[in-house]
Each structure stands twice: as structure tokens, then as C-alpha cells.
């Protein structure tokens, strides 16, 4: 990795951490909220531009499209999260999502920085990846994953504004446990069966409790307008992410057919992407169902977030690789 690329990447990583703290501070100092929000947004823009430059620099250095391993996909994911937040902030004028978006980007930078040097280094492509289909198939998927993350996180804010604190805390703890399983699977030699149980168990129990306690409302915290605003933001993210996921899955099928003669082979990651697609298809159908409340939809978006986490990072880190094990390094 060149010095220039490293400098851009580090600037982007630091910016995401800084913007997180500035956004957090903006919630604590109501008198300076507007100023601090603007600073947080400004720092996020610096981070986004730096990351754009880092990705371009990496592409120039590698003489190929810079999206071929886990580290590079994490850079793209953080880029998409930051870019999507900036676009949403412009459309909706929302600030609350800022600290969660920058925290997500910072977590991905941290995750990427802990990966071994072989991931950071620019290495030759394996024969299967030497194809123009790579730049058609992978970016829509990574951007869709970022949109689904933001949709799930907007759903968390919706639950908070709707006073569903118990369900919210359960959902947050569940995501933290699932992410911990992914981290342990990536960086330690922990038995993958245990980690699979941790991920699946936490997801299942967390989802059941979150739904069961959805009627527990802290009325003092209810902010209907805010809740409906973040419900709209969550839906908007899914409305953008769903077509991208569809395009990613279909172009993957076209590539597989071009390279291996079959557009669908029930590979674990393919299947998992289909599960994610089905879950968001269910979300969209639930959306037109008049009895489904915004809070239930937020929890469906939370389930989608867990499935996205499993599809994107879980399968390789929890030992379920298959054909799509390019991101695997252990």
C-alpha cells in the first residue's frame, strides 16, 4: 500500500471517529447543537472525500478495480455508509442518524485495520475474479448492504422515538452479540460451531423478545413525528437497497453462468443473499399491509440487518464459506 493511499485511508478512518464524537456531543449540548452538527457533517464530508481518494488511489496502484478482497469491500462499505448518510442528511435534514452512521463506518475501518497485512497488500487476482463482471456484480451488493444497515439503524431511532425502549435495547444487544460473533470468528480461533450458535441464538432470542415486548411503551419519550420521519428514512434506504441487491444477485447469476455454466448453484452465500432478498421482499409486502405498524416494520428492518450482517461478513467468518470465499483469509 502506498503512502498516499495510507494517508487518505487513515484520514477517512479518523474523520469517521471524530464525526462520531462530534455528533454525540451535539446531543449533549443543546445550545450548540446546530454548530456541532454542522462540524460533524463537515468532518464526515472530509472523511467521505478522503475515502473516495483512497479507493481511487488503490485502484490506480493495483491497476484493477479495487474491490477484490474483504479489506477492499470494507472500504467500499464504509464509503457507501458515509455517502448514503450525507445524501439522506441533505434530503431529510436529519442529524440523529449521523452518530450511528459514523459509528458504523468507524467500526468497519477498525475491522479492516485489524485484518492481516496480506489483506491490506495489493495481491494478484485468482483466475475466477479476472473478469469485467466483478465490477458489475460486487459494488451494487456492497452498497445495498450499506443501505440495509442504515435502514436497520434508522429503525432503531424510530423505535426510540416511538418509546419502544425495551425492544430497542434488545435489538441493539442482539446486533452487538452478532457482531461480536463475527469479530471473534474473524480474529480468533474460537470454535465456529460455538460462534454460529452465538449468532443464531442471539438473533432468534433477541427477535422474539423484541417483538414480544413491542407493546411496552415509555410514553414520556414518545415523539410521533420523529418516529414517522425515521420510519420514512428506513423505508427510503430499503427502497434503494432492494433494487441494488436484486441487481447484484442477478448480475452474479449472469457472471456465474458466463464463467461456470450455471447461474444458480445453491452456494451458501448465494442462498444467504436470497434469504436477505426474501426478507426485504417480505418487508415491502408488509409495508402495503395496513395492519402492520411502523414499529413492527422497524423490527423487520432489524431482522434484515442481522441477515445482511450474516450474508456480508458472517458466512466467511463463521466457517460457512463456499464458492464466495474470496474474503476469507484464515
Amino acid at each position: 500500500m502506498s503512502e498516499l493511499q495510507l494517508a487518505f485511508t487513515n484520514t477517512a478512518g479518523l474523520s469517521s471517529v471524530m464525526s462520531f464524537w462530534v455528533f454525540v456531543a451535539s446531543n449533549g449540548f443543546s445550545k450548540r447543537k446546530e454548530l456541532l452538527t454542522k462540524i460533524g457533517l463537515g468532518v464526515m464530508i472530509v472523511g467521505f472525500l478522503s475515502l473516495t481518494a483512497a479507493i481511487i488511489a488503490r485502484g490506480i496502484e493495483a491497476q484493477r478495480f479495487p474491490l477484490a478482497n474483504l479489506y477492499e469491500s470494507l472500504l467500499w462499505f464504509a464509503w457507501a455508509v458515509m455517502g448514503a448518510y450525507l445524501a439522506l442528511s441533505r434530503s431529510y435534514g436529519i442529524n440523529q442518524l449521523g452518530w450511528i452512521a459514523s459509528l458504523t463506518a468507524a467500526t468497519m475501518f477498525l475491522y479492516g485495520s485489524w485484518l492481516p497485512a496480506s489483506q491490506h497488500d495489493i495481491t494478484p487476482l485468482v483466475p475466477a475474479l479476472v473478469s469485467y463482471w466483478r465490477q458489475i456484480h460486487v459494488p451494487p451488493l456492497i452498497v445495498s448492504y450499506a443501505m440495509f444497515f442504515l435502514a436497520g439503524l434508522s429503525g432503531f431511532i424510530q423505535l426510540y422515538r416511538a418509546g419502544r425502549l425495551f425492544s430497542l435495547i434488545t435489538a441493539v444487544v442482539t446486533v452487538v452479540l452478532a457482531l461480536t460473533a463475527v469479530m471473534l470468528g474473524t480474529f480468533t480461533a474460537t470454535d465456529t460451531t460455538l460462534l454460529q450458535l452465538m449468532f443464531a441464538g442471539a438473533s432468534l432470542i433477541g427477535t422474539v423478545i423484541a417483538f414480544a415486548k413491542l407493546d411496552t411503551v415509555d410514553k414520556a419519550r414518545v415523539d410521533i413525528r420523529g418516529a414517522e420521519l425515521y420510519d420514512d428514512v428506513s423505508y427510503r434506504c430499503i427502497a434503494i437497497g432492494f433494487p441494488l441487491l436484486t441487481i447484484g444477485i442477478i448480475t452474479g447469476g449472469l457472471w456465474a453462468n458466463h464463467a461456470w455454466g450455471t447461474y444458480w448453484s445453491w452456494d451458501p452465500k448465494e442462498s444467504m443473499a436470497l434469504v436477505t432478498w426474501l426478507s426485504y421482499a417480505a418487508y415491502i409486502h408488509l409495508r402495503i399491509h395496513r395492519e402492520c405498524s411502523a414499529e413492527k416494520l422497524s423490527l423487520v428492518a432489524f431482522i434484515g440487518l442481522l441477515l445482511t450482517l450474516m450474508t456480508y461478513l458472517g458466512f466467511n467468518s463463521l466457517g460457512l464459506g463456499g464458492l464466495h470465499s474470496y474474503g476469507k483469509f484464515k
Partner: protein
């Protein structure tokens, strides 16, 4: 039966299908990874339970096929009952709403105005610049944006049904398979896989593997695999020649042949002129052949590629690690005591995947429909109604200029963006009409108020529940379908 077309059934079936596919993603499938992998992963006892329950072949299980069948029936019923009829609604003209009806819309405002048609012309031009299509009648106009977005569910459903058709044609008429072939060997299609309900036929021609090679990066990692193939008729006549590589297949007579994998198969060596074949096994980046000499010692032949030297190691039971004895190439033999070892040939094998997929054109058309459908779904469908009218009754506060300009609209996607759009229009109209803050204008609510108001609407997806108010007979403010 109404339940077959219900959205509730769709959601339940989608959730059950997702759960089934999730189990299939977690558990290795026999069709892809073989039974040995399942036994290795779970142990013999657990593997037996999984196999008996059908979990190791879940995508061919009656349960999964039932789910797909029900989803198909649900999709057809739903499409016929609700989705396809919406196409007719596209042709129906939108109604021109009057002041009272506009006042019921989620976003609306009332501005005092003179009975001046130039105001409506101004609004018409303003909306037209922003992509709206306008219809005008007397002192009213109706504007529509993103009508094409209403086609999204129809096109997506057509795509999904077409996909099922393509998959069915492939299943009934197609075949596929994989075979590792040595250089000089041949690939025929007798052992191909196809479904039980198969009505296709296998080609009589075969494919000869002329040469195969691997190209490496300077680091020694594989860069590309190449195989030169010749299609040969049953009487031995060459029909087509091509060098294939990964992502670059050969196509002939509806059959595609792909470079799927590559490896070194065996080593031909001679011991003092006596030939012997040693099978190679992949060991990371290298291949190795093992030749036991006696109970405690073994010769190991290590080879990295077709053009690299063969390294000969010896390993005894009491040694910690193998010891390098010699290297040999096809031109340079190795001498081990009284034995001359010569490398005669390093023989590669090319992994060839083949398939005949008559349903593919249909499947590709389906992919096109689905992609277009889901992309159209992101386009917001918006309506704006404007009407200039006198106060509705004597009790109504009289407008200073004699008339009111009623303006309102709805958008069930990107509501906040729509609210901002109309806010901009209303602000400019106030300038045009020279309305001061204290004047008799009923202001458009703030964004948060409107978001709150929009949230009360029962139907939340405009593409599926956004008919013409005239056609539905409901108030447009309800968004009923």
C-alpha cells in the same frame, strides 16, 4: 379463493421460504458438496439424522417444492386480482379536484388570489420544469410525476413468473455435468445430470482436450488456466477448435463448455529406464507424490508447475522433517546412488464444466424484467392538484382578492422531498401573489406536521395501493386501493 391472493399469505410464504433457504445455506448440501462433507462436519450419527430429515438435500425436498409451488400460485392469483388490473388504471384520466377535496390531501394550502388565469399558467410551468405532466381544465389543473413507477409491481411479477418458466424449461430439457479430463483425453456427455422429468436429448459429438496449461503471476500464484479443445463429430471429423479459459467458454450446438478448475494429475518417472506413474495430490500451492520405500521411509516428489523442476525428498519415521535429495527436470535426470531417476512427463488435468440450458433466453428476459421492475419501484409517484375558486360558502372568510388558490398533493414515497417541493412552490406563489405573513393564507404545515399527517394513511406503498380517486370512489387523501 381470496386467501390465495392475500398479501398475508405472501408474507408468510416468503418468511417460510427464507427460513428454509437459511437452513440450506447453513447445512452443506449433498448435491453440491457430497455426503462425505456432511459426515465429516457433523459426525456419522448427526449426519444420518440430517440426511433422513431431508435437510441435506433441502432444495429438492417436497417441503421446499411445496413452498415454491404455493408462492407461484399466490403470485399468479395476486397478479391477476390486483397487480395486472392496475395497468388499466394507468389509462384512466385523473380527476380535477375542487377546493374542498384538495383540502383533504396530506399536503395542502389555500392562498388568497385574484381570479387570474396567469397564476395557473405560472404553476403549470413551474411543475412542468420539475418533470410533472399537466392536464388543465378551466380553473383547475392536475399534475402527475413518476407514473411509470406504478408499473413496478406488474413488471416485477411478470419477471418472476417468466423466471419460473425459464427454470422449468431448463429442468425439463437441459443437462449439465463436470469432468476432469487429462491432456489428450475426451469429454462426452453420457454421464450428465438432468432432472427426472427430462425430455431433452444428448449430443453425439464429443470434445477432445488437445493441451492444457496454467499461467502464473510472478509470485507463483495462478493467473489463468487455459485448455485447447476440439469438437469432434462421431465419425472423427473436427467441427470446431477453441482455447478456453476461466470466464471464456466454448459454445457449440447449444452446449457450453467452461474452464472450471485445473490441477496436476500425475507424474511419469523412470527408475533406471523403468517407467512408473505416480499420482499427484495438491498440497497448498504445490503437488506431491508419495512412494513408500519400506515401512519406515518414503520418497516424496514435489512439483509446483508443469515447467518447474521436480524436487525429490526422503522422509524416515525418526526424522523431524523431509530431507531434500535432488532435483530433476524432463531434460536433467537425478542420480540417487545407483538409480537414475528421470522425469518423463508432468501430466495436468483440466476440470471441464458443461451445460445445455434451453431455458436460458427465457431466464435472461426474466432477469431483465425483474431488474427494470425493482428499479421502477424506486421512482416516487406524485400528484399535485391546483384549483382557483371563490370561497365555498357565505360563512367562509372572504378572500381579500375575491378567490382562493387551492393547492395540494400526495406522494407515498419520499414524502419529505415532496413536502419540500410543494413548500417551494407555495413560497414562490406567495411571492407572485404578494401575500404577506399576516395575510389570509392557510399555510402548508411544517415538514414534521406533514410527516405526521402522512403516517396516518392506511396504505403505505403507492405502487401497489394508489389508484385513481375516481376509479376507486374514495377520497384521494385516503390513498385507498
Amino acid at each position: 379463493m381470496p386467501i390465495l391472493a392475500s398479501v398475508k399469505l405472501t408474507v408468510v410464504l416468503l418468511a417460510l421460504t427464507a427460513a428454509t433457504v437459511l437452513v440450506g445455506a447453513w447445512c452443506p448440501q449433498e448435491a453440491q458438496q457430497g455426503r462425505e462433507k456432511i459426515i465429516e462436519q457433523f459426525g456419522a450419527d448427526t449426519a444420518k439424522i440430517l440426511i433422513d430429515c431431508g435437510i441435506t438435500d433441502i432444495f429438492h425436498s417436497p417441503w421446499f417444492l411445496l413452498l415454491i409451488g404455493l408462492l407461484t400460485v399466490n403470485m399468479v392469483a395476486c397478479s391477476m386480482q390486483r397487480v395486472f388490473p392496475k395497468l388499466r388504471l394507468l389509462k384512466q384520466p385523473l380527476p380535477f379536484l375542487k377546493g374542498k377535496e384538495i383540502g383533504k390531501l396530506p399536503v395542502n394550502a389555500r392562498l388568497p388570489s385574484a381570479n387570474d388565469a396567469s397564476i395557473l399558467v405560472y404553476v403549470e410551468q413551474w411543475l412542468r420544469k420539475r418533470g410533472f405532466k399537466i392536464k388543465r381544465q378551466d380553473n383547475c389543473l392536475v399534475a402527475e410525476y413518476g407514473k411509470i413507477g406504478r408499473l413496478a409491481p406488474t413488471i416485477t411479477h411478470i419477471g418472476l413468473l417468466t423466471l419460473l418458466l425459464g427454470v422449468t424449461v431448463t429442468s425439463w430439457c437441459g443437462f449439465s455435468g463436470f469432468k476432469p479430463v487429462l491432456a489428450g483425453g475426451a469429454l462426452s456427455f453420457e454421464d450428465s445430470e438432468h432432472s427426472k422429468l427430462w425430455i431433452g436429448k444428448l449430443p453425439r459429438w464429443y470434445v477432445r482436450v488437445d493441451t492444457t496449461r496454467r499461467e502464473d503471476h510472478p509470485s507463483g500464484d495462478p493467473k489463468q488456466w487455459y485448455t485447447h479443445l476440439t469438437v469432434v463429430s462421431p465419425d472423427g471429423t473436427p467441427l470446431k477448435e477453441q482455447e478456453i479459459s476461466v470466464n471464456n467458454p466454448l459454445s457449440y450446438d447449444g452446449v457450453d463448455i467452461y474452464q472450471s478448475s485445473w490441477g496436476l494429475d500425475h507424474l511419469l518417472v523412470s527408475f533406471n529406464g523403468k517407467p512408473r506413474q505416480l499420482d499427484l495430490r495438491q498440497m497448498g500451492k504445490t503437488y506431491a507424490a508419495f512412494l513408500p520405500l519400506d515401512e519406515g521411509s518414503i520418497l516424496i516428489f514435489s512439483v509446483r508447475g508443469q515447467k518447474t523442476p521436480v524436487r525429490i525428498f526422503a522422509k524416515r519415521a525418526d526424522w523431524d522433517a523431509p530431507k531434500l535429495l535432488a532435483e530433476m527436470t524432463e531434460n536433467k535426470p537425478a542420480q540417487l546412488g545407483a538409480v537414475t531417476l528421470r522425469c518423463e512427463q508432468i501430466v495436468p488435468a483440466t476440470g471441464l464444466q458443461y451445460k445445455c440450458d434451453p431455458g436460458l433466453p427465457i431466464t435472461y428476459v426474466a432477469f431483465g424484467f425483474i431488474i427494470i421492475g425493482v428499479m421502477l419501484a424506486a421512482i416516487p409517484h406524485r400528484h399535485v392538484w391546483v384549483c382557483m375558486a371563490p370561497p365555498p360558502s357565505e360563512n367562509f372568510p372572504p378572500a381579500a382578492a375575491g378567490h382562493y388558490l387551492y393547492i395540494g398533493g400526495r406522494s407515498l414515497k419520499a414524502k419529505v422531498g415532496f413536502q419540500r417541493l410543494l413548500d417551494g412552490l407555495i413560497a414562490q406563489l406567495k411571492d407572485e401573489l404578494r401575500i404577506n405573513p399576516g395575510d389570509d393564507a392557510e399555510k402548508s404545515p411544517k415538514i414534521d406536521d406533514v410527516v405526521s399527517e402522512l403516517g396516518k394513511e392506511p396504505a403505505k406503498d403507492e405502487s401497489l395501493a394508489f389508484p385513481s380517486p375516481v376509479a376507486s370512489g374514495h377520497s384521494p387523501a385516503t390513498g385507498e386501493g
